[in-house]
Subunit: 273 residues, 3 copies
């Protein structure tokens, strides 16, 4: 199943429109190319509707949102909805400021998202109006552990049912859920938290998976999470002792570049709940 999700990306080379932050945008573009997609970035209200129209899907990331780009997010999101394109929300820093939290709320109200992907603190903020986002990283107090996993899975399903979106909560243990079932994923490596943008990269790549697998949003989202985590594991194995987080970033993208459906299928570690 995982295998087909990736193979479909490579077969169809989906063009993905990204309204994303300027911190990690280059890595987002390169990982999209690595997985077989094609990126375009456009964030001006005067440009985004046409650009999203020629694309297959839209990735909205609020990491460095501003007064000019926020309206562009709404315009692009609504146009993508009209056209039936998958749209992903990455609510970077929701809970860390009112502008971020309120923009994410408004976006959820006016745009139908196919996937909402964030860390547990961000998703809690969106679902419950609480959560203690520590900047752009999840708070330790919120972390999904083996102990809190069952509750977190139920929480994800409930939020998915409410939003009619697939909910992807990523962290040490990842949960990808719709209203009825959830993938619990155990791929990844702790050192991924020492690179800026693994979440942003995943959101960009996941959008390509959604475009290429329009009938299987849940599986596509889960496959993207497994692919990212597996790339993190495989890249980590190839690190020399003196390699640090910057080299690790390059190697993770390289691993996606070389990942085949078979590698993904055999390396994906997940269970259904």
């Amino acid at each position: 199943m995982m295998k087909e999700m990736l193979n479909n990306v490579r077969k169809t080379a989906p063009l993905v429109h990204n309204i994303t932050n300027y911190v990690t945008v280059n890595d987002v573009a390169n990982i999209l190319l690595a997985c077989g997609g094609s990126p375009i970035m456009s964030d001006d209200p005067g440009d985004v509707e046409e650009i999203t129209s020629i694309c297959g899907g839209l990735n909205i990331n609020i990491g460095t949102l501003n007064a000019r780009t926020i309206p562009a997010m709404f315009l692009a999101g609504q146009k993508a909805n009209e056209l039936g394109h998958p749209v992903l929300l990455d609510p970077v820093g929701a809970g860390a400021s009112s502008l971020r939290t309120n923009t994410a709320y408004d976006l959820m109200e006016k745009v139908q998202f196919t996937v909402i992907r964030g860390n547990i603190s961000e998703i809690k903020t969106l679902a419950l109006g609480e959560g203690t986002t520590k900047g752009v990283d999840a708070d330790v107090a919120d972390a999904v552990t083996e102990e809190t996993l069952s509750g977190a899975v139920e929480f994800a399903k409930k939020f998915a049912a409410k939003t009619q979106a697939v909910v992807a909560i990523t962290g040490a243990i990842d949960i990808v859920a719709d209203g009825e079932k959830a993938y619990v994923i155990r791929n990844g490596h702790a050192m991924m938290g020492k690179i800026t943008g693994t979440g942003c990269m995943l959101s960009g790549m996941m959008t390509a998976f959604l475009v290429a697998n329009p009938e299987n949003s849940l599986e596509a989202a889960a496959a993207a999470v497994c692919a990212m985590g597996l790339a993190g594991e495989r890249a980590h194995e190839r690190l020399a002792p003196e390699d640090g987080n910057s080299t690790y970033r390059n190697k993770i993208i390289d691993e996606i570049f070389h990942m085949t459906g078979e590698i993904l299928e055999s390396g994906a570690k997940y269970e259904m709940r």
Copy 2:
């Protein structure tokens, strides 16, 4: 000839003003440093005229244009024209949206460009009002192949004559033409299409070549195209089996860093038409 073009960059260390997209800007800055130039980025209408005045040349790339930066492109372009500085236009995504297409048209009307550099779909859009730009990549239907090469060379010369600019169309086969003669260049590697920003990097570096060789814009532009393609070839030879597009990007910039006039001269593959 190629040799002198690069040597002059290293001798004079041209300062290049870039109004460029935020996706690939870091690679543009690093490749400018690698080739012996010096980059400065500035895109606010209140800043660009003074900045371009202290530079030797200007690189305008519309990849993430917006309502604030578009006026800056005109101001900087006109100031650079006044001062006799070379100005390059990289019409990223022309044909993909009206804002991009119209901005590129307007820029061509109000700024005299030394070089217009893009993929075949972008250049067709500017020249003919058609072309089927696929996002920021050229459409396969437009591609310059051995079969369509003669026609493409004539097209490039005609557009160059009309715009009084050197026209650089880059792809699997590159064409760099003025109104009378054209370089047909066969350097490069297909994997370069799997990295974001090879075109943007080339535009930045080419501007340094133009500044350093003010009497030889055609040759300077052709030398930059050969250098980029050759770096792509040489970096590809050094890839380990597990290296992917992210490492490839680093190695291409590294190859420019170490490229000598001699390496360029002996590795450049071109013919005149």
Copy 3:
């Protein structure tokens, strides 16, 4: 002493708010993670006060300042002052345009900085209203050499006394001074000038050092300068003959990732003046 400065960063994982340029922002984020800090970027006037409030310190870099982000710099700086957070100014390109020079002046007037860090041309511009900034790089005529060192140290102390900030002038020889004493630092490698953003990265990392060592701003700033220079030396030793500036950048960040207090202590080359 150096040792404790770095160890305190790793112990406390300071969250640093960066209003920084889009050229080098990804490297700034990754080096902050590498040293043990945590980065957040936010530059919209509607977002920065809340974001800076949840952080420990603020890094203001004017490298690609614009009409929207300039007011954000003032709002964030004043809020950080209110909260007693360390605030660093990196006056990129001061002296190269009036907008940059005047913004830096205004910021110094309305925000109390903990550290002002720039190259000699930028700092001369701020201190004397002169200096011949060559784009974003220091002018050779301004360079701190063994011959001009004594004068430069006095100049730095005087400017530090006047601004009540630690003044860090970085170049081939670095000076980090308050009104009374100065560190003269001789770490680093000439090839660091061939990478975009070593200054920006240092400013980001230095802010983390300031947050983690609130009672020792002078030592913290000096330790960050030594760490950056030492990483440049160690990374350079590990370069293969074909490695260029892009790989060097990755290896410098990697060196910070693996740097221990002991490595820093034994590798730091400084004297007090």
